[in-house]
Amino acid sequence: MDIEKLVCKSPLHRSIVRFFHENQSSLDTPRGIATWVRGDYTHVKHALTELAKAGVLEAHEASSTIGYSYTRDPKIIKRVETLLNK
């Protein structure tokens, strides 16, 4: 799925992307992100996996958890910004 479709897939996807776009230094677990975007943990986890697969987020895997952070690709950041401003 391309980035545009994925970001607009659901309000939750959009909220997650907005959270990372506004807090670009953030690094958090799915549970933490679910708190920030006030989303259901399972749905947030699924959305995070999709967004990481598409390159919007970066997944940092460790034995006990996964941390997610925003992409560092300026082209993707620019595309996301345009989408969020629409």
Binding site: N23, Q24, S25, S26, L27, D28, T29, G32, W36, E58, H60, A62, S63, S64, T65, G67, S69, R72, P74
Partner: protein, 510 residues
């Protein structure tokens, strides 16, 4: 016309905005309309000096003013009432140039005026106590507006800090999950880049003997291959950060020392992705990040040290055994390699493989308690002699038990002569009750015994020994382990190794 600068507190604007959009305020407007007739109504935010408001061009005009030939005069009456209200802080009435009655109600909380509610063209016969109700109502709305503003401020202040705190917590979890320095340091570097939004991160650790900083991990997003440079302590930003024990910051770099009891290294980030200079806030974040990193690095270093001690202990025991009777108590290199490869085939973790390796080295250490006349006997063993041999796993376990760091290898050694069908020794364990490491050693140990020359029998050819292993799968040996073992032994490099080690230059019987 002269231009006056209006100074307004940022909060004033916000409070007035909240008051204006408050639904109760709208309801009050409707209520006032019913009581006071058709009126003109607006809110003017307070400003300092108060006289500056008078000159504001955007003060609305009531419908009477609008049709008036001299609206500015009309406004002047209203503004005079605003001035009075700001001084006396109570409701003021006025009559405009068009003869319309109006009121100015200051929006006051404590000693602070936020603005003025102006109502123009009100009925003549409005009862005086209505104004009291009006004042009380406005105060309630104002309090609600202030609370809302405070909550907003609190949210805006706390949320970024909470997000930063959560980031540090996640960072701690991610870097504490490994005790392997070679994995930990690049991970810390990558995560630092992510959190600091920088282009390059370098981690250097102190080499106290040479008084230099040795590069351990560098991640550079702009270069495919990162350059690793040694730095003398006291030179460049990383060297200075270590020397002075405090962060050294420039526009495009930020070096933060890793301080435990003493300085053990430095993390340096270079070039923010947004090209802005590093700030005090970045420095604070880096300090916190380094505090987390130094704990993880120290833990990994301690773990490595403990591992060295464990290996040292094993080697010492092995050396003592070797001096007593060379070649008797220690396994061949091929045995160690086969055990490890079968473990890999069975997808054991790196830690489990290490335990298996240590157990393999010492699995026959207990034979030290068996008299030489029994271990070197050429003929068949008597029942008593065999009982002595059967004691060796227990003896080895008893020797190693006091070494706490080896506690996980003791069960492997204790049970490596158990049989899958429960006919082995010392405890006649069955199936999966036998530790997997012991089941692996059982297969490899039996294979090695069969192909090795013994004082009382000739060695079997490799093919014959493999047949024997195959035949005993499910009886003496775990079929799963046998399957993995056969997969390993059919490899050409393994066969070559076995031929070389067991038969020397002679051709193996394969």
């Amino acid at each position: 016309m002269s231009v006056y600068k209006v100074n307004r507190n940022n909060d004033t604007e916000k409070i007035i905005e909240i008051v204006k959009t408050n639904p109760s305020f709208e309801k009050m407007k409707v209520l006032l309309g019913r009581l006071m007739g058709e009126f003109c109504y607006f809110v003017i935010p307070h400003a300092d000096p108060i006289s500056s408001i008078v000159h504001e061009a955007n003060i609305p005009e009531c419908r009477e003013c609008h049709i008036s030939e001299s609206p500015s005069i009309c406004k002047s009456e209203m503004m005079a009432a605003v001035l009075r209200a700001s001084e006396k802080r109570v409701l003021q009435q006025f009559i405009c140039n068009q003869g319309q009655k109006g009121i100015v109600h200051p929006i006051v909380q404590g000693d602070r005026i936020y603005g003025y509610l102006v109502v123009c063209s009100v009925k003549e016969d409005v009862p005086a106590d209505l104004f009291d109700i009006f004042t009380a109502f406005t105060s309630t709305i104002l309090e609600a507006a202030q609370k809302e503003l405070e909550l907003k401020k609190l949210y805006e202040t706390i949320r970024p800090r909470a997000i930063a705190l959560s980031t540090v917590h996640t960072l701690h979890r991610l870097i504490s999950s490994t005790l392997d320095l070679s994995e930990l340091l690049p991970r810390v570097a990558r995560l630092t880049l992510q959190v600091m939004r920088a282009n390059r991160c370098s981690i250097k650790l102190v080499d106290s003997k040479k008084k230099t900083l040795l590069p351990k991990a560098t991640v550079d997003l702009r270069a495919k291959i990162a350059k690793l440079k040694k730095v003398e302590i006291g030179k460049w930003a990383p060297g200075k950060a270590v020397k002075y024990g405090r962060p050294i910051r420039g526009e495009s770099y930020l070096a933060t020392p890793l301080i435990d009891e003493d300085t053990i290294g430095v993390i340096t980030v270079y070039d923010r992705t947004d090209s802005k200079p590093f700030t005090n806030f970045d420095e604070e974040i880096m300090k916190t990040l380094c505090e987390q990193a130094v704990i993880a690095i120290k833990n990994a270093q301690l773990y490595k040290e403990q591992e060295r001690l464990t290996v040292g202990s094993i080697k010492s025991i092995a050396a003592i055994l070797e001096t007593k009777a060379p070649g008797t108590y220690l396994p061949k290199a091929s045995f160690l390699k086969l055990v490890r490869l079968v473990g890999v085939e069975l997808r054991l973790s790196e830690y489990e493989l290490k335990c298996l390796e240590y157990a393999s080295l010492l699995h026959d250490a207990g034979q030290i308690a068996v008299p030489d006349k029994v271990t070197k006997k050429r003929g068949t063993l008597t029942g008593k002699e065999y009982d002595l041999i059967k004691e060796h796993p227990k003896t080895a376990a008893a020797i190693l038990k006091p070494l706490k760091s080896l506690k996980n290898i003791v069960p492997i050694i204790l049970h490596h002569h158990e049989n899958f069908d429960g006919t082995g020794y010392p405890m006649r364990l069955k199936g999966n009750d036998i530790p997997l490491g012991a089941r692996i050693m059982g297969v490899v140990g039996a294979f090695e015994a069969m192909i090795t020359r013994k004082p009382y029998r000739k060695p079997l050819a490799i093919v014959a020994a493999l047949d024997e292993i195959r035949k005993n799968a499910g009886k003496q040996f775990d079929p799963l382990v046998v399957h993995a073992f056969l997969n390993v032994v059919k490899r050409k490099d393994i066969l070559k190794m076995l031929r070389k080690e067991i038969y020397g230059h002679r051709k193996a019987g394969v």
